[in-house]
């Protein structure tokens, strides 16, 4: 009854800022960054990545309330970089890891396709999930065509 609308947990309101920086007044080189409409998925991954970086003295995150769709990440650095800069670096590193993983996944998936172990794409299953007959069957997705071709 009082539950917030489901989309409020992941859609930014009009004009809402996705990131808010609160500098720490009592601790040097520290800041708390509020990241709106994101959850543990991003928070925990960032925290772990930050802790793996040498210039970090402290990194921790929390989701203050499960019904409030934001998390806070607190960062203290050794002073060689600002907390924002390190956070940005952490993001960049993670994106790098992910794209390298993407490449590897793609290679692995293509090997599996060649092996003919009934590949993951609808194309290679022999089924016709779209229920179309003839040349423009479901297989078209797998051959590098896009939706404009239909």
């Amino acid at each position: 009854m009082n539950a917030p609308a489901r989309h409020e947990s992941y859609v930014l309101e009009d004009g809402e800022k996705p990131v808010e920086l609160i500098e720490d007044t009592k601790i040097p080189n520290a800041a708390t960054i509020k990241i709106v409409k994101q959850d543990h998925t991003l928070g925990n991954m960032l925290r772990a990545q930050l802790l793996a970086m040498p210039e970090i003295l402290f990194a921790g995150y929390k989701v203050p309330h499960p019904l409030h769709p934001y998390f806070l990440i607190k960062i203290q650095t050794d002073g060689t970089k600002t907390p924002q800069a390190v956070l940005e670096q952490a993001c960049t590193k993670l994106i790098g890891t992910m794209s390298s993983l993407e490449t590897k996944f793609k290679r692995e998936f293509s090997y599996k396709d060649i092996e003919g172990t009934s590949g993951g794409v609808t194309a290679s299953t022999g089924e016709d999930p779209y229920g179309t007959v003839g040349g423009t069957g479901g297989g078209a997705w797998g051959r590098g065509r896009d939706y404009l071709d239909f």
């Binding site: 989309h7 992941y10 772990a48 993983l101 590897k104």
Partner: protein
């Protein structure tokens, strides 16, 4: 420092079937592997029946019962993020939008790290049979001391889909989605208060236009994958908000001003080229 830091992540697909993939992820940390799991389950847009108008119902089943079950039908959602403007959703809105029917995730099958404690009556080994994944790892000796610095390094996934997306699509879109989230965060950090963020476009999944997306074009982490039709980040409106099909029936004002209903405007339905200019960099 992390032991995984300097090593490249590894993947080995053990099994690929039309509705499932089983793979082993290595050299990443627990948080990373868990984020991948979470994003595959909850953040990948799919299509589902979301609004049902019943004119007459002569069945024994009540209207809402039928409407609910219609919603649960998996509909093929390949490229739905670029080819469709309305009635997409993610599992955070409703679980019916999840492309995964199950994701299993295991690490440390011998419990060497003691991340869990097994309850037992008399014999711990007899009462807790080892998982299949234990064959992938070396069994600890009985007198092996506890290594309190050890970190999990190998993660066993099995992603099972409901058929709305193939397992390959789920994994690749999951990775792309995580990258989008991170890219949007960098963007948010960079644009100070004076730079006005285009709030509407950096939304949910922030699927910006694929080709001229600043985070995939030219930067060091570029992976050509992101610009291809299959994995691209295509169209841009946020899924399943008031602007969609629902607005025409619930008489809310249509914020995005796009026709309403099942997309009646000139650009309706299958994403028209103009949609692309509504992204980040026109």
């Amino acid at each position: 420092m992390q032991s995984n830091e300097d090593l490249e992540p590894t993947v080995r697909i053990r099994e690929l079937k039309k509705d499932r993939v089983n793979f082993v992820l290595g050299n990443v940390d627990l948080a990373f592997a868990n984020s991948l799991r979470r994003v595959m389950m909850a953040d990948i847009p799919t299509v589902a029946i979301d609004m049902v108008e019943i004119e007459t119902n002569t069945t024994v089943l009540p209207d809402e019962f039928i409407a609910h079950r219609l919603g649960m039908i998996p509909l093929i959602s390949t490229n739905c993020d670029e080819a469709m403007r309305y009635t997409r959703g993610i599992a955070k809105e409703h679980a019916k939008f999840s492309p995964c029917s199950a994701v299993s995730f295991e690490y440390d099958p011998y419990n060497k790290l003691r991340h869990t404690t097994y309850w037992y009556e008399t014999d711990i080994k007899g009462e807790w049979p080892l998982s299949e994944n234990a064959k992938e790892e070396e069994a600890p000796r009985d007198d092996e001391p506890f290594d309190f610095n050890a970190k999990p390094n190998k993660f066993y996934f099995e992603v099972e889909t409901d058929g709305s997306l193939g397992p390959q699509e789920v994994v690749m879109k999951g990775l792309a989605e995580l990258q989008t989230k991170l890219a949007n965060l960098i963007l948010g950090l960079k644009s100070g208060p004076e730079h006005d963020m285009v709030a509407n476009d950096v939304t949910v999944n922030g699927h910006g236009p694929a080709i001229d997306n600043p985070w995939t074009g030219g930067a060091t982490w570029t992976s050509p994958a992101n610009t291809s039709a299959t994995t691209g980040w295509g169209g841009s409106t946020s899924p399943s908000r008031g602007g969609g099909a629902s607005s025409s029936w619930s008489s809310q004002p249509t914020p995005s001003g796009g026709g309403g209903g099942w997309g009646t405007g000139a650009n309706a339905g299958w994403g028209s080229p103009e949609r692309r200019s509504n992204g980040w960099n026109v």
